[in-house]
């Protein structure tokens, strides 16, 4: 049960404010929240915060029935979605509700953002009215809600050719290698009263997050893949679709399928609208998704990866204690298949304190390296599979004392490393999971076949290499 819900912009301006129970007063609560959030001491978590009505020296301005109020918030695309409650409720449910609200708002307004929210204030309030009643959740299903929501979303973004260049979520290549603009998916799901024909699209994304830890001797300490199959459907609710996954897909350590190495994951969970009757035999997910966005399947894989890791880093460090000169030579090898590539690769290498100068020799001109916040940042916009890139960095670290012993040494000074990489791998899944097909049972009357967009993507969550 929540008392209030509000949305703040990243600068703390209240965009939406709704009081469900009238038991706690005033819009200044939103202000109070932001003040508390920004003034928080470093070791406290901002996820839950408390304010007490009694104390606080008139900060709140009114006394509640001598009890306190908890703020629970999530940050979503630069916005703060905050709920207040005076009860000791389940944090999991509430956080889930907030993120579900974020998804819903995204579905209805196109995409979630400061501009879209302020353009669609009426719609947002209408939605909140239906989702929550007196602070209790009624429903968050798009299907049910669509019967009650009358306001049309205001979309101002015109289609722009420039959007083609950047690859965003939900919009990439299909099997026919047609390209949808990356903004294609960021439109409201439910403004379907007018032009019906345009809207029959389905976006399916297989997104994997990779976290890896490699020891300084090159041995692999940890591999963790968190995968999701996300679906954004603009089809009418209840239309059935079938998603075929790679047949060698095995769940658990013991299962064995096919003859090859197989694609093995440790744990899988499915959305409740998924029917699994064909999963055992043919690895087909049958589902009747509601309109909007949902996560069809979540899976995790740890420790053994079927394919080689996308990147290997071979560092060598020369450290001359006498002159305080530190020389770092980094060789980055991309072990992807030659046809694929990695985008927006960035290497982050923390340096010892007191590094003053940097000279660099990079293997290609499009790379960039710079110092910032006590770390070296090496940007590689594009790395082709199978290629090898290198960078030689020389730094002066005058203040760094070391144990006695002059002359260059190969040991790294404390404070150097570990290096972490961030990158995106389009058209690649680290687990090897692929969507074989996406079939729709839905036949629109008289219209063309609905468009299906399927995309695979891996990106780094934490790719850490110790030096």
């Amino acid at each position: 049960m929540i008392s209030q819900f509000f949305i703040l912009s990243s600068k703390g301006d209240p965009l939406i404010y709704k009081d469900f129970r009238g038991d706690s007063g005033g819009r200044d609560v939103a202000e109070l929240f932001y003040r508390k959030l920004t003034g928080l001491p470093g070791d406290e978590s901002p996820v839950v915060m408390v304010t007490t009505g009694g104390s606080g020296g008139g900060v709140v301005g009114m006394r509640l029935h001598h009890d306190d109020r908890h703020f629970i918030h999530i940050r979503h695309s630069g916005l703060y979605l905050v709920a207040t409650t005076s009860e000791n409720i389940s944090p999991f449910s509430l956080l889930e509700l907030l993120s579900r609200l974020a998804t819903l708002l995204g579905d209805y307004c196109g995409s979630l953002g400061e501009a879209t929210i302020s353009r669609n204030v009426a719609l947002v309030y209408e939605l909140l009215d239906e989702v929550l009643d007196y602070g209790y959740v009624q429903t968050t299903s798009t299907e049910v809600l669509r019967n009650f929501i009358q306001t049309e979303a205001v979309v101002s973004k015109p289609f722009s050719l420039f959007d083609l260049s950047s690859v965003g979520l939900f919009g990439a290549e299909t099997q026919q290698s047609k390209v949808a603009p990356s903004s294609a998916a960021s439109r409201p799901v439910l403004s379907s009263r007018s032009d019906q024909s345009q809207k029959n699209e389905v976006f399916l994304d297989v997104v994997e997050r990779l976290s890896v830890l490699i020891a300084s001797n090159g041995s692999l300490l940890k591999v963790d893949v968190q995968g999701e199959i996300r679906l954004k459907s603009f089809l009418p609710s209840g239309s059935e679709m079938r998603i075929g996954l790679t047949e060698e897909f095995c769940v658990g350590k013991s299962e064995l399928r096919g003859y090859g190495p197989g694609i093995r994951v440790d744990e899988v969970s499915f959305h409740s609208s998924v029917y699994l009757d064909e999963f055992e035999s043919h690895r087909i997910l049958r589902l009747q998704p509601p309109q909007g966005e949902l996560t069809v399947m979540r899976y995790q894989l740890s420790d053994d990866l079927p394919s080689p890791l996308p990147f290997r880093l071979f560092p060598s460090v020369q450290w001359d204690r006498g002159s305080g000169r530190l020389q770092v030579y980094l060789k980055l090898r991309c072990d992807l298949p030659p046809k694929s590539q990695a985008l927006n690769v960035r290497l982050h290498l923390p340096l010892p304190r007191g590094v003053v100068s940097l000279s660099q020799e990079l293997s290609s001109p499009e790379q960039k390296a710079e110092l910032g916040e006590g770390a070296l940042r090496w940007d590689l916009p594009r790395v082709q599979g199978g290629s090898q890139l290198s960078g030689l960095f020389q730094m002066d670290v005058p203040g760094l004392p070391g144990p006695p012993g002059q002359g260059p040494s190969a040991s790294a000074p404390l404070g150097l490393g570990p290096a972490s990489l961030s990158f995106e791998l389009p058209r690649h899944t680290c687990s090897g999971l692929q969507v074989r097909f996406l079939r729709l049972a839905f036949r629109p009357c008289g219209n063309a076949n609905p468009h299906k967009w399927v995309r695979h993507l891996s990106h780094s969550d934490a790719y850490v290499i110790r030096i």
Binding site: S45, N88, F92, S272, S302, R353, P418
Partner: protein, 571 residues
């Protein structure tokens, strides 16, 4: 409520569950519950709510209990973390008499919790981490094989990193200690000073069990010579030396040299404490302390000065030759120049303690150097699951138990008690001797509630009888130098209306005197003065006819003043 859940049945059932009449009738309630938990078409919010309702239900028999658990089992596999956690809580509470069932449930929930810990939503991740810590309190080994999931990545926000470090610190065991320490060591040089310090403290925590590898890492960190690292490492050393005596040797070897990199109060205090208590084993301890004494004038923190006083005195007791001179200088500074009263009083106290004799000072200051038993109190591991089952899936673990308690008390501001200095000095029995004796004498007549009757007379026989029948109410020792002039003392005592019953002649050893006084309520104060010149101290024993501590205190202070004054004149 319109369109609640997905069916009318849901509505009806929910209403029924809230209906007091149905709640009162166990049979009906039971059948409703059976129907509720067999419903499959609830959405996740409905499921969470039903699980919440069911918390109120008390199954009648074991059979029914397991029936319910079986029916609810599917909720544990739900894809919504809210439902999973709700079900877990319900299971833990229902199975409160079956620890093995509870352990089983916690095993099942491991997967979903770990998934939530690595979830993309930071907030969810944080809540899950808090619950992981809660579980670890009861089952320390529960997540040990998954320690890698709790390694931090540099892009994570601060509050998640701190939680993860705490979790790592708690799940460490023989198998993963090497890897966990390796990981934590990387954090110690993090750009964020707060995070680095948290990591160092975590290593310190692990060092209580796995001393050697941790000590090695901590010693290495000192080599970085960075202020924010050195200060925390030294504080960790202090705690380790106190809790694990076996670390002391290593700590003493690591300490020399780190004084150059400590600037803050906490770090200085820790270093000075270590030098004082374990100075015997640190060759250069006196020199380091001497540097601190040289700079004591510019020292801004009174707590550091207090610590310094204690440490120098302690070191003096174990290495007198090297410390005598600087102890004198420090005491002189503290008594003559120091503005902070607490420091000054501490200086005076130590001064008088030394006057009382070296053996006494030793007795008081050379307290135990470590206390491993404190550690046992600290980690009361294996707390039963039932102690927190009710708090599971609420805000309590998210806030942390301590913070929740303050919140619950509705005291908005967190209360921090005044920090006590970390010295191991025993509380002294009795007030310190005042310095401005003369002024105090004049104040005396109107100072307290005590009014001594001017012309009180007591015969020697009467005194003896009363003296033997009473017990000593108070005993105290005053410093005293030189011989006694009985007449002077008698005169001085008469001024404050204390009658002298008997007195040894001047020069006798030991010298004794018996005094008596009576206040306006008729309470008698009988006193024995005993002077042993060899000890340079005067011992007084006071007996009181009526036990009243207030007046006794006042009387002692009167006596004290007189003796102090006379003693001063003599010396």
């Amino acid at each position: 409520m319109p369109y609640l859940g997905s069916e009318d049945v849901v509505k009806e059932l929910k209403k029924a569950l809230c209906n007091p009449h149905i709640q009162a009738d166990r049979l009906r309630y039971r059948s409703v519950i059976q129907r509720v938990i067999r419903m499959s078409k609830l959405d996740q919010w409905g499921q969470a709510e039903v699980l919440n309702f069911l918390l109120r239900y008390q199954p009648r028999s074991e059979e029914e209990l397991f029936d319910i658990l079986n029916l609810l089992d599917s909720f544990l596999k739900s894809s919504s973390p809210g439902v999973v956690m709700g079900a877990t809580k319900l299971f833990l509470i229902l199975a409160k008499k079956f620890p093995h069932v509870q352990t089983d449930v916690l095993m099942q929930v491991k997967g979903p919790l770990l998934a939530a810990c690595s979830s993309e939503s930071r907030e969810l991740c944080f809540a899950a981490l808090c619950h992981v810590r809660q579980i670890l309190h009861s089952l320390p080994g529960h997540f040990s094989s998954h320690y890698k999931k709790f390694f931090c990545s540099y892009s994570e926000p601060h509050y998640i990193k701190l939680q993860k470090v705490e979790v790592l610190c708690e799940l460490v065991n023989d198998e993963n200690v090497q890897q966990v320490l390796e990981e934590l060591r990387g954090y110690c040089t993090d750009v964020s000073a707060d995070f680095a310090q948290a990591a160092i403290l975590a290593i310190g925590g692990i060092a209580r069990t796995y001393t050697d590898p941790c000590m090695q890492i901590l010693t290495e960190l000192l080599g970085l010579r960075q202020e924010h690292i050195t200060t925390v490492v030294v504080q960790t050393f202090r705690d380790l030396a106190w809790l694990c005596p076996q670390c002391t040797e290593a700590v003493c070897q690591a300490l020399p040299g780190c004084e150059e990199n400590i600037q803050d109060s906490e770090g200085k205090q820790a270093l000075i404490w270590l030098l004082g208590v374990h100075g015997k084993r640190i060759p250069n301890a006196p020199y380091v302390l001497e540097d601190f004494i040289e700079n004591v004038k510019s020292e801004t923190f009174p707590a550091v000065k207090m610590e310094l006083l204690t440490a120098v005195l302690r070191l003096f007791l174990s290495r007198p030759a090297e410390c005598q001179d600087m102890l004198g200088r420090l005491l002189h500074y503290c008594i003559e120049e120091e503005k902070d009263m607490a420091v000054r009083d501490r200086g005076l106290f130590y001064y008088r303690l030394l006057l009382a004799g070296i053996s006494e000072a030793k007795q008081i200051l050379c307290s135990p150097k470590s206390d491993p038993s404190l550690r046992l109190l600290e980690d009361q591991a294996e707390r039963p699951v039932n102690s927190w089952a009710l708090d599971f899936n609420t805000l309590v673990p998210v806030y942390g138990k301590a913070r929740w308690a303050t919140i619950a008390k509705c005291q908005g501001v967190e209360h921090h008690g005044p920090e006590l200095p970390n010295t191991a000095v025993f509380p002294t029995s009795g007030p310190l001797i005042p310095e401005e004796n003369k002024e105090r004498v004049q104040e005396l007549p109107d100072s307290g509630a005590l009014m001594l009757i001017p012309n009180h007379q007591l015969t020697a026989e009467c005194f003896e009888k009363t003296w033997l029948s009473l017990k000593v109410a108070h005993q105290q020792v005053f410093p005293w130098q030189g011989a006694v002039h009985p007449d002077t003392l008698q005169m001085a005592l008469q001024v404050v209306n204390i009658q002298t019953i008997a007195m040894s002649r001047a020069g006798t050893q030991p010298w004794k005197a018996y005094l008596s006084a009576q206040d306006d309520t008729g309470c008698l104060f009988l006193t024995e003065l005993l002077l042993e010149p060899a000890n340079l101290q005067m011992q007084i024993s006071v007996k009181q006819s009526e036990a009243r501590t207030e007046t006794l205190k006042s009387f002692i202070s009167v006596l004290e003043t007189v003796i102090g004054t006379i003693g001063d004149i003599k010396s």
